[in-house]
Structure formats: structure tokens, C-alpha cells
């Protein structure tokens, strides 16, 4: 509640924000100081140079002086204005180098998190903790399409934020599953490209609990503007409790796989999975955006054999934007979304794919590899 109020005040101020925030970490503050130092040096140089220029534009107009001077070189002056800027640049390079060395300090970390960029969401995996999840935009379509008033964190809100402990050194191992993305949280001064097939490293240490918002900063396709980053910094105790909960959830999810599901249950769960993972391309109506994103409504695959349908969801379609969801979603969610797609928008197969089927499929896939 208190946090919400604070954020509202920040929002009002932010509307005419003209500068970078100093942020929440040592690194972000030293980057901010560096930014301000260079900025003021530029301002001083600008005032001097433009001052001389404007003076000349006023005092040396033809209406005031008919006869122009005729000088056109002066070696001493020219050497001076080559050497002095060089010295100023060296003065700038010193603090810049110091900050960069600090940022590149790769010493031991307390928590390691693998961040994977997907079109168009982030996946967080706590290394050695058996906890992983996707973080999806939660801003409703109606707000984006101007059919509902926009919330305060419009486009900067997710279902599950990345949670990290305060005071600890957290290392991020950043990569991507499809195209290049870039993971940025301004107030942590962490921005690193997520490159498919390669792992980049970055780190942060946030002193106080808080909520920090950022966005993907590398053009990654259609919904590049719709994959925010939200980081929640919790106190050490809260973090430990949260991690415990997450682990319990994971265990519960494993149980769900063996549960007996009804068609209605799967369709209901599938709709949520569909909205979070599929709707941005195939659209909430299932009509897609042909030809880049084909329709599912009445499609040969969604109304054909369940195996073929499961296969494309599980393995994706190489060479197109259709991603392989086999490693992204749980067996339950894959079963649910496939069942949903077979029984929505006029697709009325009436059959269902159960989590058990997905598990069998997965094991068969692994066996053939």
C-alpha cells in the first residue's frame, strides 16, 4: 500500500522527467555521477563556444562593421585548441575507466540467475534452486487498444517479477532463445544484450528492497515494446520465504501431471496459457495475422490429428516465428493449451490431450534423440 502511494508520487513527477535517475545501486550512482560530470563539461564548452559565436553574430554584422578582418590562420591558437580538448578528454576518461572496471568486476556472487529472452517474454531460472518461471506482460489488451483507462504501470507490469534478495550480489547469465533481446533495468544500470547461443554476464547488488521496472531494449520483432522487465528486491528473509514457496509450487505442478483432468478443466487452464503465450501472434480470436502468423481457427493442424498438433506446439516450426514451447511450458500447460485450441473459436474436436500424453510424447522425443 505504502509502496503504491510512493509510486504514484513518482509517477506524477516522472511525467516531465528530463534526466536519468541515480538509481538504487553503487554502480547506478557512479554511472549517474559520470553522466552528470560529462554533461556539465559539455555545457561549459557549449556556453563558451556558442557564446563566442552569438557574440560574433550580434557584434560583427555587416550593419555594424562594413569591413571584415582578413586573418585566416594562427598556428599557436590552432595547436592550443587541439591540445586543450585532448586534456579535457583525458580528464573524462579517468572516471569513466574507473566505473567500467567496477562494472566488470566478476568476483563471486551469492545468487546466480539465468535470464533468457523469448519473443516476447523473459524466462528466469534460479541456478541450483530448481525454480524457474516466465515473466509475461499483464497489461490487458483493452488498455493497449484504448478501450479501458490505462493503469499506472501500463506496459511495465508482469505476472511474475524477478525476485532477488537485498544486499546480495546477484549474477545474471543472460541469453536468448530466438532473436537478440536486451535486458535493461534503468535503476540498476544493468543493460545487457541477450544473444541466442551465447551467454552474457552481468551483476547487481541492491541495498534496499523495492520494485524496479525496465524494458527490452533491442528490437526483437512485433511485440518488442511489450516485454517489460520487473525486478522485486526482497529482504533476505522474505526472499528465502518466497523461494521456499516457489519450490513447493514446482512440486505441486509435478503432481498435477498425474492428476485426472476433465475437458472443461483443461480448456479453462488452456485459455489462460493461450492468452499469455500464444495470443500476441495468433490473436485472442484465433484468427492470427496471416501470412506471418497463421490462424488456428479452422486450421488443418488444430483440427487434425492430436499428435501433429502437439508436435508443432512442442517443437515449433523452424524457420518461422513459431517457437518450440516444449521446454518453455509444463506438461500440464501444453496439454491445456492444445486442448483449448482444439475446442475454441468454432474448433469442436471434443477430444483432449492430457498431461500424461504430453509426458509420453516428451519421453518418446528424448528417446529418439
Amino acid at each position: 500500500m505504502g509502496l503504491g502511494l510512493l509510486a504514484t508520487v513518482a509517477q506524477a513527477r516522472a511525467a516531465w522527467d528530463v534526466n536519468m535517475r541515480s538509481g538504487a545501486t553503487d554502480v547506478s550512482r557512479s554511472v549517474f555521477d559520470l553522466h552528470m560530470t560529462i554533461f556539465w563539461i559539455c555545457v561549459v564548452i557549449g556556453v563558451l563556444v556558442f557564446g563566442v559565436m552569438i557574440w560574433s553574430m550580434i557584434a560583427h554584422r555587416r550593419s555594424r562593421r562594413q569591413q571584415a578582418a582578413n586573418f585566416h590562420e594562427n598556428t599557436r591558437v590552432e595547436v592550443l585548441w587541439t591540445v586543450i580538448p585532448l586534456l579535457i578528454l583525458i580528464g573524462m576518461a579517468v572516471p569513466a575507466t574507473r566505473t567500467l572496471l567496477h562494472i566488470y568486476d566478476a568476483s563471486e556472487s551469492d545468487v546466480d540467475i539465468q535470464i533468457t529472452g523469448y519473443q516476447w517474454k523473459w524466462h528466469y531460472k534460479y541456478l541450483g534452486e530448481d525454480v524457474e518461471f516466465f515473466s509475461n506482460l499483464t497489461t490487458p489488451r483493452e488498455q493497449i487498444n484504448n478501450q479501458a483507462p490505462k493503469g499506472e504501470h501500463y506496459l511495465l507490469e508482469v505476472d511474475q517479477p524477478l525476485v532477488i534478495p537485498a544486499g546480495a550480489k546477484v549474477r545474471f547469465l543472460i541469453t536468448a532463445a530466438d532473436v537478440i533481446h536486451s535486458w535493461w533495468v534503468p535503476e540498476l544500470a544493468v543493460k545487457k544484450d541477450a544473444i541466442p547461443g551465447f551467454v552474457n554476464e552481468s551483476w547487481t547488488r541492491v541495498e534496499q528492497p523495492g520494485l524496479f521496472r525496465g524494458q527490452c531494449t533491442e528490437l526483437c520483432g512485433k511485440d518488442h515494446g511489450f516485454m517489460p522487465v520487473v525486478v522485486e528486491v526482497k529482504s533476505q528473509e522474505d526472499y528465502a520465504a518466497w523461494l521456499g514457496e516457489k519450490k513447493a509450487e514446482a512440486a505441486k505442478l509435478a503432481e498435477l501431471t498425474s492428476k485426472e483432468w476433465t475437458l472443461e478443466e483443461l480448456v479453462a487452464r488452456g485459455e489462460k496459457v493461450y492468452q499469455a503465450n500464444c495470443a500476441s501472434c495468433h490473436q485472442p480470436t484465433g484468427e492470427g495475422l496471416p501470412p506471418m502468423f497463421p490462424a488456428l481457427k479452422g486450421s488443418a493442424i488444430a483440427t487434425g490429428e492430436p499428435e501433429g498438433h502437439l508436435n508443432i506446439v512442442f517443437n515449433g516450426k523452424p524457420g518461422t516465428a513459431m517457437a518450440a514451447f516444449g521446454k518453455q511450458l509444463s506438461e500440464v500447460d501444453i496439454a491445456a493449451v492444445v486442448t483449448y485450441e482444439r475446442n475454441s473459436w468454432g474448433n469442436d474436436k471434443g477430444d483432449m490431450v492430457t498431461p500424461k500424453d504430453v509426458l509420453d510424447f516428451k519421453q518418446a522425443e528424448e528417446a529418439t534423440q
Binding site: 509517477q11 516522472a14 511525467a15 516531465w16 522527467d17 528530463v18 534526466n19 536519468m20 554511472v31 559520470l34 560529462i38 557549449g46 563556444v49 563566442v52 559565436m53 560574433s56 560583427h60 555587416r62 569591413q67 571584415a68 578582418a69 586573418f71 585566416h72 590562420e73 591558437v77 587541439t82 578528454l89 576518461a93 569513466a96 567500467l100 493497449i144 487498444n145 484504448n146 490505462k150 504501470h153 506496459l155 511495465l156 537478440i180 536486451s182 534503468p186 543493460k191 545487457k192 544484450d193 544473444i195 541466442p196 547461443g197 551465447f198 552474457n200 527490452c216 531494449t217 533491442e218 528490437l219 520483432g221 512485433k222 518488442h224 515494446g225 511489450f226 495475422l289 506471418m292 516465428a321
Partner: protein
Amino acid sequence: MSAVIDDHGHAAHDHHHGPAKGLSRWLLTTNHKDIGSMYLWFSFCAFLLGGSMAMVIRAELFQPGLQIVQPEFFNQMTTMHGLIMVFGAVMPAFVGLANWMIPLMIGAPDMALPRMNNFSFWLLPAAFGLLVRTLFMEGGGPNFGWTFYAPLSTTYAPESVTFFIFAIHLMGISSIMGAINVVATVLNLRAPGMTLMKMPLFVWTWLITAFLLIAVMPVLAGVVTMMLMDIHFGTSFFSAAGGGDPVLFQHVFWFFGHPEVYIMILPAFGAVSSIIPAFSRKPLFGYTSMVYATGAIAFLSFIVWAHHMFTVGIPLTGELFFMYATMLIAVPTGVKVFNWVSTMWRGSLTFEAPMLFAVAFVILFSIGGFSGLMLAIAPADFQYHDTYFVVAHFHYVLVPGAIFGIFASAYYWLPKWTGHMYDETLAKLHFWMSFIGMNLAFFPMHFVGLAGMPRRIPDYNMMFANFNMVSSVGAFMFGATQLLFLFIVIKCIRGGVPAPAKPWDGAEGLEWSVPSPAPYHTFQTPPDMSDVHEHRKGTGGELTP
């Protein structure tokens, strides 16, 4: 010196070799003035087309939420806007100016390779026809940004990407041929006695630009060819799965891309270096250091490319090297700015349209230079990178830089081209509207960038709303004003106060020694420049009709 103007007494001769009639004049011409005019008209059309795409972008960004276009199309607009402005508007405009002015400035009868000149122009409509056509193809046009990073532009690209690659190849061939032509002309066709250090700076900067083009356009051709191979022939240059590396794309692209930004600005430096002395009625300060500074900038442009890639995860030593090298560019650029200011100092200044644009060029380009220096600081760049701060930066160097440089040149030489004075009142209106509109459009982008707005997004949080609305209003104003420029140019072509051979009393250079409008053929007998002192430093000296 009277030998210079050779054409007057040869009316009959002129008549014989005048322009052909009808369409074939333009299709088959090898005349540098005709080709120069075609380049300029082509670039203005591209400017309006790329500009109207910018209007679509700014209309969508006028308010938060999706109003006018969907993200898929928005990305096509940002991509095409960039490609058309860079390759269709700015570069051809400078080639057009080079075609018109370089032979006139060095006392040559034409460009050295006139047929190739015709071919390099006519490749452009083909290339851009192909590029623009992709917008109407199934799956849409290029939507991966003008920097077309792989794998978004390969595995994940719309099918039209192959046409995009072919279009880039054609533009590249055209640019390389244009550049070879400039080098051949400047090195071989200078009037007797015109040493390199007597050349106007526009010729110097274009000579250096031409070498940059010859060096980097093949690199661009290489990178798009690698894309083509990855897409159609199963190679994996940019795919880690096959042993390649998406970052390789960025290294190769920016090895082209960074010199490219100087290709778009150096000729403007040269033009402004003629215009400021003309309206200050005082020789250019530090001609020699201007030449060396241009050379230094060109050299440095090859060793700074990775400053576009500070966040891709290059090692510490790499970051440091590219940061230091980038900061060094401030030195020769500073020398140029100080030289222009010193040229104005204690001059006898008037502010006709060319001078207004030139002075605005110096001030606003310097602002773009300052933000460039800030971006060079690697740790700070982690915050600026790929935000609107970068968009503000490069629009400050390209709009009041390259484009104001082109406007200044156009007004400066319009009387020579058309034989009429342009309408000074309207031109001043054009300047002030452009100046205000451009600053309104691009200055607030610094603010939203620093506040955290990424570039290339069709929608944003309300905290960026105020300044985005201001930006859009400024952009609409700037865009609409350019129609006024079209009107001014047409009016000037159709009539007006007849222009004397030298309409600007402070101007110097061989181009003012021929009548206005410049006859179809000029300098068939080269002028003798041996008596002109080098110490008037390339302004053509006291050689005036």
C-alpha cells in the same frame, strides 16, 4: 583570367551540343548538371517519402496506446524511414551536389566517367522501387530496423527480405560507382595550376568521402550477402546453432555503418566551409587544419565501430579501446567547429538563407556532437544505449547536420543552377519553421530517453506521454515545412530576379566565374589557376569575374 569564361562567344557551338529533347535527355544524359539535378530531385522525393513515414511514426507515438497502426506495420515504418533517409535522401543529395559542383569548382568540363555516372543514377530508382515494393508484399516489408540485426533479419524475417538484400546491393553498386567517379574527377580533371591545397573544402571532403564509400560499401554488400547465404543456402554465419555468431553481423555491419555516418556528414562540412566564409566576407580560418581534421575523422571512423555495441558483451579491453578511440573524434571535430567560429569572428556578417542554415548547422551539429561524446563513455552508454537518447543524438547530427547542410547548399547554389534568385522571405520562413520544428521534435527525445524510453517501440508508459506529444507536434511542423521548400525551389526555377554570375558578394570559387544559370557545357577550356595564391586556401582566390 578572362580565359576562364570561354562559353560566351560560342552560342552556336552551345546550341549544337545542348541538351537532347524530351525524355531521352534524362534517360541517356551524360551531362554532370543533368545528372546532378536528377540526383537532387530523386533525393527530395525520397526525403518526402521517408518523411511521410516519420509522420506515421510520430502520429502513432502522439499518445500512449495503439491508435493508427499495429506494431508489425510500425516496425516496417521505422525500418523504411531509416533506410530511405540514409540511402535515398541524404546520400543521393550529396552525390547530386558533387555532380553539379565538383566540375564547376575544379574547372573540369564534366565528371571523368560520364556514362558510368548515368548508370549509377539510374540504378537508384530501380533499387528504391524494389525496396518500396516490399511494403506491398505478403508478410510486409523489412521490419527489423535499418540496422537489420541477425537473426531477426534472417531466420525471423519476412520473405521480402530477399528483395531488400537485392535493393541494398543495387544501392551499393550505385554508390561505389559514384565514388569512383568523384575520385577520378578530382584526381585527374583539376584545372592546370589547381593544386590539391587550392581545392575548395567541399571538393576535399567529397574526395575523402569517396574513399570512405569505396572502402565500406563492399563491406555492406558482404554482410547482406552473408544474410542471403544464411537465408537461402544453408550457411550459418549468424546462427550459433551452426557454429556462427549473431554478433559477427553487428561487427561487420558497423564496420560499414560507422564510416557511413561520416559519409553523410563530411560533404556537409565541406559545403558549410564555403558558405560561412562567403557570408562572413572573410577567408576560411585554418584551411589546412580543416583538411587534416577531415582526414583524421575519416581515419578514426574505421576504428570506433564497436561503440555501437557496448552492450553486446565485448571484453573490458575492447570496451576501453573503443571508448578512447571514440572520444578522440571530438578533437578533429572540435578543430572544425573552432575554425568556423573563428571564420565568423570579426567578419562582416549577413544572414541570408544559406548562412542561416549554415550557422544553425554549426550550433545544432555541435549539440549532437556533445551527446555523441556522452554516448562514447561506455559505462554511461549502458544507460543510453538503444533509448530515445540515441534517437535524439543521431537526429541532431543528421537533420540539422546533413539535411541543413543540404538546404544551405541548395540555397547557396540555386541562383547558379536556375539563373534566378530564390524568394528570400520564403526561404527565411522555411529556415525558421524548420529550425523550430526540428528542435521541438528532437530535443525532448533526450529527456524521454534519459527517463528510460527504449527506441523502436510503438507504445509507451504515460510517464513518457508529455514529451512524446511535444515531439510529434514538432515533427509535423518540420514535415509540413518541407513542402514550402518544394514551392520555393519550383518558384525559383520558373522565374524571379535574374541572378548575376556571382550573386553573393563574399563568395569565392570557380563556380562563380561562369554565368548564371550555368551553361550546359562549362570549362571546355580549363581556366589557369597557377597564379592564384595557395594562401587564399582553396577558396578559388581572387579569381572572380
